[in-house]
């Protein structure tokens, strides 16, 4: 049951996201994409979950290593994505400023 609810949430958030992002002007499409890099890093939540399970159930070391790699990669996206986006947006200035 829960799984079908999740599929529904996936679809609804995609539609809502589409409508909201449709308002982003082409001027900001590059920062938008690097912002999306950051958000795709939110897969770190999944990485944390599976790594937590691996740690608690004394799974083979390999599972923990795979989990750790997933966390590192996802965090590079989160921190790097938001950082680069912030740096880029700082450059956008109006005349006279």
């Amino acid at each position: 049951m829960m799984q079908y609810v999740l599929i529904g949430i996936f679809a609804v958030s995609a539609i809502v996201g589409y409508l909201i992002i449709n308002n982003v002007p082409p001027l900001l499409h590059t920062p938008l994409m690097s912002g999306m890099n950051a958000l795709s890093g939110i897969t770190v939540l999944g990485a944390l979950t599976v790594t937590a399970v691996a740690l608690k159930h004394s799974s083979p070391v390999l599972s923990v290593i795979v989990g750790v790699v997933a966390i590192v990669l996802a965090m590079i996206n989160v921190a790097g994505g938001f950082g680069i986006t912030a740096r880029m947006l700082k450059m956008f200035k109006k005349e006279g400023k």
Binding site: M33, A74, A79
Partner: protein, 467 residues
């Protein structure tokens, strides 16, 4: 695994955080509020990470904290150093990291579910669903990973930028798709499915040419989100599912915009119907040949300096050639001088005037061109006919009037900037050869066009000094 928070509490928190991210994204609709929007999304993400760590009792785990610290430190160094011209390959690389991370989550989720199932601790009715969902996340994750690495490699020029086509390319692509699906359906060992999808990502991206990159990285941006969202379904994380859906939609939206702006079909990019180069003599609207010389004489006798001194309003059209020549600062100097002399100056930005959506805007913002001087094609295209002078810098296909007339060529029907409608056009391009699409540019032959060939850095500075 037991969680500390009751599921309902966790769902409510997730819902609030997703709403926060959506508010952040809606603030991205204006340049003046975008920074606040980015900050809100970032704060929501950090809270989500902490809540998840609390929920799974790993707030005290050194392994977890060290992994997080390594990722954050590496990326912050990277984020501070990276140059704006490198933004396409950076986004491509991060698309790949996101994809691989989601694929690894899927692998662990798959093996953990299987373990519980074998111990008869997992509801058999849910097991198959969960296994297949993990496989889908794994496939999309690996396709995104290898596809993005190849795209980043091409953009960073460590791989050939021209499309690499191997014999039977389309057949191999289709065969790999079929094999991947079959392997997942039969639940073959997971590394086989992973390998097949990684191969497809490679084969798909290797045949994409440099100018098609805006479409490709938009698509991979979308896929990195979809992989995360589906991995979220596999591990049952509501927030990951919702955010994955949002990222997927955003990438898809940009992919559509880019396809339209480049007059390409998405299926053509994926399965690689190549851009048809027009036969040398057939469709070319005008033969570039020696007998052009007389035409040259009819050209305006005014010098570029005279044109610019007389002009009241000027539109500058930057293309990727400007970025390749690193002439942004020179263009800014030209812009400053024109404004100093009391002229109205605007920039006209074609949607594909870079290697990724919006790239040109960032490059110009970097050299302090105010963003209210940057205009999108649809906003400015009707103004060209009332414009005294247009300066084209390193752009060809996006100003080629042949796009409206040369039927059967790759650019036919592609929306272009109507530079030729202006009183005078000054073109600062490296050479007068056709652009990427291979269609001779009829703008160059117009009477009101003056060509300044060579390195844009030199030609633009000379132009700046000439009035």
């Amino acid at each position: 695994m037991e969680t500390l928070l009751a599921p309902v509490v966790y769902y409510v928190i997730s819902g609030v955080l997703v709403a926060g991210v959506l508010v952040g994204l809606s603030l991205m609709s204006r340049a003046s509020t975008a920074r606040a929007g980015n900050a809100i999304s970032a704060v929501c993400s950090v809270i989500a990470i902490l809540v998840t760590m609390y929920n799974y009792r790993i707030l005290s785990s050194a392994v977890i904290w060290i992994s997080i610290a390594v990722g954050v430190i590496l990326s912050l160094i990277f984020a501070a150093k990276v140059k704006m011209i490198q933004m396409p390959q950076v986004v491509a690389l991060l698309n790949g990291f996101g994809g691989l991370s989601s694929a690894l989550v899927a692998i662990l989720s798959f093996s953990q579910t299987e373990l519980l199932y074998l111990k008869e601790l997992y509801d058999p009715s849910k097991y198959l669903f969960s296994a297949y969902v993990s496989e889908v996340a794994l496939i999309i994750g690996f396709v995104t990973f290898t596809g993005s690495l190849v795209a980043a490699g091409k953009l960073h020029k460590v791989l050939p930028q021209k499309p690499v086509v191997i014999p039977g390319h389309t057949f191999i692509s289709v065969a790999l798709i079929v094999l991947t699906v079959v392997s997942a359906y039969l639940r073959a060992p997971i590394w086989i499915t992973a390998l097949l999808s990684a191969l497809f990502g490679f084969i798909f991206a290797i045949r994409v040419g440099g100018a098609d990159m805006p479409i490709t990285i938009s698509l991979l941006n979308s896929l990195s989100g979809v992989a995360g969202g589906i991995a979220g379904i596999a591990v049952g994380d509501l927030m990951l599912v919702a955010i994955g859906g949002i990222v997927g939609a955003s990438g898809l939206l940009l992919t559509r915009i880019m396809c339209k702006a480049m007059n390409r079909k998405l299926s053509g990019i994926i399965l690689g119907s190549r851009v048809k180069k027009p036969a040398a003599d057939a469709q070319a609207p005008e033969k570039p040949a020696e007998e052009e010389k007389p035409a040259e004489e009819e050209k305006t006798s005014l010098t570029p300096g005279e044109i610019l001194s007389q002009a009241q309003n000027v539109i500058i059209i930057p293309g990727y050639g400007m970025a390749l020549a690193q002439a942004q600062s020179n263009v800014k100097a030209l812009f400053d001088k024109l404004e100093e002399k009391g002229k109205t100056v605007k920039f006209a930005i074609h949607p594909v005037a870079g290697r990724m959506p919006g790239h040109m805007n960032v490059l110009l913002a970097e050299v302090d061109v105010p963003y209210d001087k940057l205009f999108e094609m649809d906003e400015i295209n009707e103004e060209f006919k009332d414009t005294d002078a247009v300066v084209v810098i390193g752009a060809s296909d996006v100003v080629n009037p042949a796009a409206n007339t040369a039927e059967g060529t790759p650019i036919y029907g592609m929306p272009v900037l109507k530079a030729g409608d202006a009183k005078y056009v000054i073109v600062c391009n490296f050479d007068d050869k056709p652009g990427y699409a291979g269609v001779p540019n009829t703008l160059y032959k117009q009477k009101n066009t003056i060509m300044l060939l060579g390195d844009a850095k030199d030609t633009v500075s000379k132009l700046t000094g000439s009035f």
